[in-house]
């Protein structure tokens, strides 16, 4: 489970990308839970998260994330493992 700090920052990015300050992300959340989360916004999300955290996702990662939890966990591994 990713740290609160990361989840909070990630929440900010979600709000920005989906243009909705009311979004509260949680580990089990999926694209189905946010109406605006289509394939275009998925790319916007990837790009925004990469920029906000100074990381890079792999092709496989962006194609296979199933929920916010997986997204946040891999983000945390990247931050710890690779630095930023």
């Amino acid at each position: 489970m990713a740290s609160t700090e990361i989840m909070e920052k990630l929440n900010g990015v979600f709000c920005d990308v989906f243009d909705d300050d009311g979004i509260k992300i949680h580990a089990a959340m999926t694209a189905r839970d946010i109406t605006e989360w289509d394939s275009l916004n998925h790319i916007n999300l990837v790009v925004a998260v990469e920029r906000a955290f100074g990381v890079k996702f792999t092709t496989k990662e962006i194609m296979t994330y199933e929920n916010v939890g997986q997204f946040a966990d891999s983000l945390e591994r990247k931050i710890k493992g690779e630095g930023s």
Binding site: D16, S39, L40, I43, N44, V47, T59, M63
Partner: protein, 587 residues
């Protein structure tokens, strides 16, 4: 991140809430263009333009262009943005057989020019064609460029071929993505996972750069370019204060910090050569400051390069208004460059139409900063542009002469003006189109005809009588300064368009031209001349233009206010312009 901001903004401009003028743009790509379309729409909206965009389906450029039943032709765009990706080109390269490799560049060039030709035949539009970002791959390192058929070399050659073909085709404007991608850095520009996953040809963060590039081109096409750069002197054109430091101590030339100022002046001189007008606005003693232009060995710019000098202690906003008046150009065509934040803010607050860039402290950064703003994008450069500063300089001399004469009449006589009133011809077409695109104030109907439409008028000798007017006098050649398009409708001559460059106002050109218009009507056995006035944001000065010639106001129609004249009642107006035959006047 500006990208996301633009994406959000684009979602809020459905239906043009601010009622901005609309421009119809079709976007055709061999890649995912949805993000580009959103960003472009939002970016143009920030510039006060509503982009009505037709976005073709993914990767069907040829179907859209070669099938006349396609949505593209139904849409009738004013601009077609062709956006081809280096990634798709790479697919072609990897698939090509050994024997076809030698023809790879030619085949691709023919593919692109074939699209242009077809669009040119079927639509009255401008084409905005991208150049390729050079690929990151260079399998043999630096040696790759020496291998003629390496992908890198081929992309480079194709770009060159597209450039050469576009140089010969005025309807094609180039969206130089080779420049933009290297500006941001290609290692950041490309993101292969986004290509693999979503067919994005670059990281979307950089789409705002492309949007600016395309928007600048489209705005220039709509006649919204800046024409004049007004320059401060102390610590802007040279280092130091001439009034305090004196001629020997200011910094300009080849030594030390002076070189940075010289480089800035060289950039300005180059702008002048491309048709941008240079003017000076400085708080100084006039004589002391002028002496620098006349005598300082390190100066690149000389007196003759500057169209107008306003050097006094008045507020700069007032002086800039004075310059605009002297040069007869709008404040919205001006850029003001000053190292002083005080002066910049004074001008910004008093004259919001003038563009005032933030200037860096370091003079070596002046050129990069101004260059990145891309203030002088254009869609063509005519010979007249290159001579434009000279026109304005003689205009300033005329102003001085004017002061010595008692009456306007005496003054006009002394100018020894000669004019040509002639039917459109091929040689003058570029300048005609440019004037049509740029004239705002003295423009009765503001119809922005493009080159092809003008050519059609030129060829239609039955119904169309399109004329241009050139003017010269003893001070110099003003070139082609007016366009009048007449259409014969039965026994009536309709003035479809009448426009004139404001720099020849109050010299009797309108009177001269109206005499010719009525003469033309008589020669065509037409008894009635009908003029129209269509109001725009800027042409109020000609709202009652026809009245002075005895036209009667006949009512307001959707095509504007109608003014009618019975040619039998027209008395030719007195003018001090001698008519010249078409051949003598240079293009």
């Amino acid at each position: 991140m500006d990208y996301l901001k633009l994406i959000k903004e684009s979602k809020r401009i459905i239906g043009n809430p601010n009622g901005y003028p609309a421009i119809k743009i079709a976007v055709l790509g061999d890649n995912a263009t949805q993000q580009l379309v959103q960003v472009l729409r939002a970016y143009l909206y920030r510039q006060g333009v509503f982009a009505d965009i037709y976005e073709a389906e993914f990767d069907i450029i040829e179907q859209e262009i070669y099938n006349t039943e396609s949505g593209l032709y139904g849409f009738k765009p004013e601009y077609v943005l062709v956006n081809v990706s280096v990634q798709k080109l790479r697919d072609r390269y990897y698939r090509v057989t050994e024997k076809d490799l030698a023809r790879f560049t030619d085949v691709y060039r023919d593919f692109i020019t074939g699209l242009w030709r077809r669009l040119g035949e079927k639509l009255h539009c401008r084409i905005v064609q991208n150049l390729f970002a050079l690929p990151l791959e260079r399998p043999l390192g630096s040696y790759t460029v020496k291998v003629r058929d390496s992908f890198y070399s081929l992309v480079s050659q194709i770009n060159q071929q597209i450039i050469e073909k576009a140089q010969d085709n005025k309807n094609v404007l180039l969206n130089d993505l080779e420049y933009v991608s290297s500006l941001v850095g290609r290692q950041h520009w490309f993101d292969e996972k986004l290509w693999v996953h979503g067919k994005l040809f670059c990281r979307p963060d950089y789409l705002p750069f492309i949007a600016k590039n395309v928007s600048d081109i489209i705005l220039a096409g709509a006649g919204k370019s800046r024409k004049c750069i007004v320059l401060d002197l102390d610590n802007t054109l040279w280092g130091g204060i001439i009034g305090d430091d004196g001629m020997d101590n200011i910094e300009v030339g080849n030594e030390g910090l002076g070189e940075a100022y010289s480089l800035f002046q060289r950039y300005l001189l180059d702008l002048k050569k491309q048709g941008v007008i240079l003017a000076v606005c400085s708080k100084n003693d006039r004589e002391t400051a002028m002496e620098v232009f006349e005598r300082h060995p390190g100066m690149v710019l000389r007196k003759a390069d500057i169209a107008a000098f306003v050097i006094n202690w008045e507020p700069k906003s007032e002086n800039i208004k004075q310059i605009a008046k002297t040069l007869n150009i709008g404040l919205d065509a001006m850029v003001f460059v000053d190292d002083s934040a005080f002066e910049r803010n004074q001008v910004r607050s008093m004259l919001p139409q003038v563009l005032v860039p933030e200037m860096p402290d370091d003079p070596a950064e002046f050129v990069p900063v101004l260059n990145q703003l891309n203030l002088f994008e254009t869609t063509s450069i005519s010979e007249e542009d290159k001579k434009r500063s000279d026109f304005y300089r003689s205009e300033s001399q005329r102003e001085e002469v004017k002061a010595q004469f008692g009456s306007l009449e005496e003054y006009l006589k002394s100018l020894e003006m000669e004019a040509v009133f002639a039917r459109f011809d091929q040689a003058h077409l570029p300048r005609i189109v440019q004037l049509i695109q740029r004239s705002n104030q003295f423009n009765l109907t503001t119809k922005r005809y493009n080159e092809r439409e003008c050519e059609d008028f030129m060829k239609d000798t039955q119904q169309c009588h399109p004329f241009y007017v050139t003017l010269q006098d003893k001070f110099g050649d003003s070139g082609l300064i007016s366009v009048i398009i007449l259409k014969k409708e039965g026994e009536k001559i309709l003035v479809d368009e009448w426009l004139m460059s404001c720099r020849v106002l109050s010299r009797g050109v309108e009177q001269f031209a109206m005499n010719k218009v009525v003469e033309t009507a008589r020669n065509l056995n037409c008894r009635r001349v009908e003029g129209r006035y269509i109001p725009s944001a800027k042409n109020k000065m000609v709202s009652r233009f026809y009245e002075q010639f005895g036209f009667k106001e006949e009512g307001v129609t959707p095509e504007g206010t109608v003014w009618g004249l019975d040619v039998r009642e027209y008395e030719p107006r007195q003018v001090w312009i001698t008519e010249n035959s078409g051949q003598k006047c240079p293009a």
